[in-house]
Symmetry: C2
Subunit: 719 residues, 2 copies
């Protein structure tokens, strides 16, 4: 019933939205995309395909293919990301084997002696460093991915060469023993896959908004394969990475993560057919009284997060501003050398970080030979293997304690300097290692306290002699979660990742308590997580979903032109010549110009993009006869009445955005920020009772927010 | 630096935003709230408290209390919801014990014989039905909660009496053996707790937007205690229930769910100190070839979802439209009677649904006495208890198979008629039961096929004789996930809930595969999940986040007035008398009126709410001397110049919303829908080159969407 009118109306509209010249609707490098525009362009494309699909079978098949291309892209991303992760894992193993040519035993990673040898050869590896650092000239951290997903254009950052270099360097970095994790680079690798596959389908390659949906799902697939945590990956993408489309991409992210995890499992690089990275099995439940040390670990995690973010950002700022930044290769070599030399003497820093975490998480069984499990056994007791009561610590445990303490300090310091170097780097594994070391020490402390003082009131109820009441491995797990939470400020996704990593479903409450505490403590010192901090450091225009804007400023305080500034550069709908427009374009560097009825009335008609104006005029001058510098540019539906001998007018209504976003000058900035954030706007026009007053761009909003937070507004550098 | 100007500007603004008369800023029943307005009111309140907090220590403490009140509310909700869930579980046990007075054995639920007796007494219980149905006159389903969270006002739905009645009836319903789950009612109970506690803090009681944040978190706590799945609960709230604030409430929802789960665990109603409802432990991994039956189960789940939604909605529509709806108590009695009579002969429908699911999920150990585990053992084999190879099925399994088939058909039919009756009802448990029965049957089928035909190509690689390759319990789990997904269309939260319920972390991929398939199949037949379907059935104004609007209509096609209709009712800024305004209010029933400069220029100044106009005029007539019917109502900052003897004018600028939301008439409806959805608008004004053309309300948007989907636009009943 309304459809007929709908179709009629659409014919009209089609003219304006047709894209007659190439490059219309693209963006320049280091600019922000306009989400609303991208979305409506995609709907147009979709409608065209749907209406065409009724014409022939071939068109119908094409429309089906188009509808399924999203899933196909997800499938391909999942397959490639999973395969690459598998290849990387296998290659890391192979590289590690190369290092260990001296070791005769085949079971190198359970054999303490062999690890000694393997780490001596780290010096050989270090000699190779200059070679591979040459390949890795890309600063690689999650912050760029996050900014791109928020609608920023950084060309080449997700290209094919990046994918290749990244994959190769990741193998080298992970096997080199630096204090870095692989989740950040794997997210980047997965996003490169996503970018590559989305370039194969016009639905995604031609629409920057749709492309970001794919990248968001790819990020989930990246975390999924980095840890074997598909659900955690999806949540991580939702909570930390994605910007504009949480629920919509959830479902596809889920699919991509599933396929990636499944592919990785089929390749089976760890040889245990488990998805889980650190499988743990504890034999005792936890007790209410233990919540106190868990919360203490949460506090530690929050403090670590604050310390790490402040020191790391200060160091990265120094790197950016001083001459240090000019020698990235030298920096990597020095840090690698220091890591190798200091890490070598301590058995807990010598081995790979994943193995360390794995050992710290483990419960001490009866057959465990690790130094951490060197307890004094009661020779009179014969109990089943699994259920060992608390025992006094032996000399090995005491040695382990001070070695762990030293390792903890070293790890804290070296991670601060390592993250942010110009090599592929993730933060999860080092953060978890810091937390796991602290947690294990606290755990052993509580265990010994409970053993020696089981008559204290707090222990009396749940820790009788001969009972297995404290599991130090659980403390390590809780500590790891707390430290990871302090650095990244993840909440729900953190707990999900932790229990996907460990399979420890029974310990949700301790994990949650530690995560909550850690976030509270860290937030008390500063709201920014490490990724947001790096985004600010680099001056990217990222409008954080989590930031609250609570100041009383109004749109009129933020809009340009300010009082005393030159009036707003506008186009009129039917009185400017081509030359006028060209002069305006030449003299200003704005991204677009509002179009008004006339300079007097200032009533807003629409908005024209600078890039499209340039293209349209260039195109008209080349092709259309009669369009000269004197031609009138008109944005109305019908050309203005012209004197008989005047040159041919230039019709530009089709590049005019007839629905520019407007707010009144009295709109609170809080609402404006909300609108920019939720609708993904690039600019917004300010009116008062129908008259155009000014314009607010995303950069203006970000600078205003920086100013209100007493930060330097000039730190926001891009549009 | 900008702060000074900010403070100056704010003094001005304060006047307009002060609330001089009571009830300003409240809503009428069955109306939708304006999210942007609620948000900006809360920011104002927050700013006032912050600026006051510098005045004295007492004010500072008050501001601290205010900042923490959110967490306090969450804590209280968690504690109360957890306690109520524990009390309900204990009371259900006690009621079940009451029923089983005849049973002498204390271990009634592991004792088959005792269950026989217990179910005979169901007839006694049925006799009590009329008593408790009198208490339960509230239609109870998730759809109302979802609509309220989207910003709709239904008074009394979350009151204290509802909480009490709900808690009592839930005990009765769950112990009565009807084909219903407890998660829906527990979500409602938790929301009532949330509503109660938020009424204690002015921050929440006076702001409908903030209150909905609390309710959203409370819904998460409800799911958390219904299943012992805190993370799944948070995701469920995010994916299915919440509307406007996904990321913001995530963190608090997480806290509430944590506290609720923890409280429930402390009460420990199931006596096993586990959070997990159905703990399973399988001893064999799954194999690639098994994906085929898993996907088949996904297809079954999708079909079941479609069948259930269509039939249930058809039945509920019949209940609404025919005389059937007038006898809710009779309907409940009849359905309970039919359930009791037909369920009685079949052992699988006779026991409680949770126990049934538990048994179906279980792997057959060597000591299992269940009929489902009646396999023929090889007397020559002596193997460890856990690792039993596939065996041929015994007569018990065959009996179980046809009993399960009958139970499946019965469960499908009875659930369709039961859900939506006027008693507290959830859908998770019955849906899972349907899926678990189908899954177990498929599992046993595959197992026997693999045993008898282990030389077939598909089995040869992974299922040699003497190997334990097929776990029928896993199929039941996968089937349950598929059926739950088909009905609710959950995705990520479904998988998280399933593995929180079962602790089966290794089986993410099968669960995901089934969930994906089930959603695809069900979506092919219709996009609506059961909750959306019930919302549509009831005509609530719910703008679904997941619906895509892809038609080419423009704002001008949807706005009122349409062509040929009377012109838009507007107020002018300084030329109408109090009487004119009162007449306009009397003659129309709009929720608000745009204010323009003059009827000729039609340039928009702001928007005034009907409710506040009425209150302001009433207030002015009562108090302010000189305001009479002839007084000029003015919305400008300064009163107009009036002739000397004219009556005292009425200044109404403070109730004027100076930043009404506007779009141009050329804005695509797709963008308008997006704006309504993301910003939670109630209405939006339509302009063309600064002139007011018309208005679009949320109801207009919903009606237009219904029309474009070829549904009856009159089905949207409320504002």
């Amino acid at each position: 019933m309304i459809n007929a009118g709908d179709m009629n109306g659409s014919g009209n509209l089609m003219d304006f939205l047709d894209e007659p010249f190439p490059d219309v609707g693209t963006y320049e490098d280091f600019h922000t995309i306009d989400w609303l525009r991208e979305k409506s362009r995609d709907t147009d494309r979709h409608r065209k395909i749907t209406s065409k699909s009724k014409e022939s079978i071939w068109e119908f098949i094409k429309s089906l293919l188009d509808a399924w291309s999203g899933w196909v892209v997800m499938l391909l991303i999942g397959l490639l990301a999973g395969t690459l992760a598998g290849v990387i894992d296998l290659a890391v193993d192979w590289m590690t084997d190369l290092k260990e040519g001296v070791c005769l035993s085949a079971f190198w990673y359970s054999h303490e002696q062999c690890c000694w040898t393997s780490n001596e050869t780290t010096f050989d590896d270090r000699d190779k460093c200059p070679q591979w650092q040459k390949w890795s000239e890309l600063l690689v951290s999650q912050s760029e991915i996050k900014t791109i997903l928020s609608g920023f254009i950084i060309r080449g950052y997700l290209g094919k060469w990046t994918l290749l270099i990244k994959t190769v360097t990741l193998v080298l970095v992970v096997s080199s023993g630096l204090s870095l994790g692989k989740e950040g680079p794997l997210v980047h690798v997965a996003c490169c896959c996503g970018n590559f596959f989305s370039s194969l389908f016009s639905k995604y390659s031609k629409n920057e908004g749709k492309r970001r949906e794919v990248l968001s799902a790819a990020a989930a697939a990246g975390v999924s394969v980095a840890f074997g945590a598909p659900i955690g990956g999806v949540l991580f993408s939702l909570e930390e990475v994605s910007y504009y489309f949480p629920l919509k991409t959830l479902w596809r992210s889920f699919f991509a993560a599933l396929v990636a995890a499944f592919t990785l499992r089929s390749i089976n690089p760890f040889g245990n057919s488990r998805l889980v990275l650190f499988y743990v099995e504890y034999h005792t439940p936890w007790y209410m009284a233990e919540l106190f040390p868990f919360i203490l670990l949460g506090v530690f995690g929050g403090l670590w997060g604050t310390l790490f973010i402040r020191c790391n950002i200060a160091w990265c700022r120094r790197r950016k501003t001083t001459r240090l930044g000019k020698y990235p290769v030298l920096e990597v070599i020095v840090i690698t050398a220091i890591t190798a030399i200091i890490a070598y003497p301590n058995p807990y820093t010598r081995r790979s970080t994943s193995e360390l975490i794995s050992e710290l998480f483990n419960d001490c069984g009866a057959l465990e030979s690790s130094q951490l499990c060197d307890y004094i056994n009661d020779p009179n007791m014969t109990r089943p293997v699994d259920d060992i009561p608390d025992r006094p610590a032996g000399p090995g445990v005491y040695t382990a304690m001070w070695q762990l303490a030293l390792a903890l300090v070293f790890k804290i310091v070296i991670t601060i300097f390592t993250f942010g170097m110009k090599i592929p780097s993730g933060l999860f594994i080092p953060s978890m290692a810091v937390g796991a070391m602290a947690g294990r020490m606290v755990g052993i402390g509580v265990e010994q306290l409970a053993y020696h003082h089981h008559d204290w009131i707090i222990f009396r109820n749940w820790c009788r002699p001969g009972a297995d009441c404290v599991t130090p491995g659980l403390y390590a797990m809780v500590g790891a979660a707390a430290c990871l939470g302090g650095v990244t400020r993840m909440t729900v996704s953190l707990v999900v990742i932790m229990f996907e990593l460990t399979g420890g479903l029974e310990y949700i409450v301790p994990l949650m308590a530690a995560a909550v505490t850690s976030k509270w403590v860290a937030d008390a010192f500063g709201k920014e997580g490490i990724y947001e901090a790096h985004i600010h450091l680099n001056g990217y225009p990222f409008l954080d979903v989590k930031d609250e804007f609570t100041h009383r400023t109004l749109a009129t305080d933020v809009m340009r032109p300010r009082r005393g500034e030159a009036p707003l550069s506008v186009l009129t709908q039917d009185s400017m010549t081509v030359e006028d427009v060209e002069t305006l374009i030449k003299e200003t560097d704005y991204n677009g110009f509002p179009v008004v009825v006339s300079k007097d009335s200032e009533r807003l008609i629409g908005f024209a993009q600078r890039r499209e104006l340039i293209l349209a005029i260039k195109n008209a001058r080349q092709r259309q006869d009669g369009v000269v510098s004197n031609s009138i540019v008109y944005f109305t539906e019908e050309p203005p009445e012209l004197p008989p001998n005047s040159p041919h007018p230039l019709k530009l209504r089709r590049i005019l955005n007839l629905s520019p976003f407007t707010v009144t000058d009295h709109t609170p900035m809080e609402t404006v920020v909300d609108i920019f954030r939720k609708l993904g706007l690039r600019q917004c026009l300010v009116t008062r009772s129908g008259r155009l007053l000014g314009i607010i761009t995303k950069k203006d909003v970000l600078r205003h927010m920086a100013q209100m937070a007493n930060q330097d507004p000039e730190s926001i550098m891009f549009n």
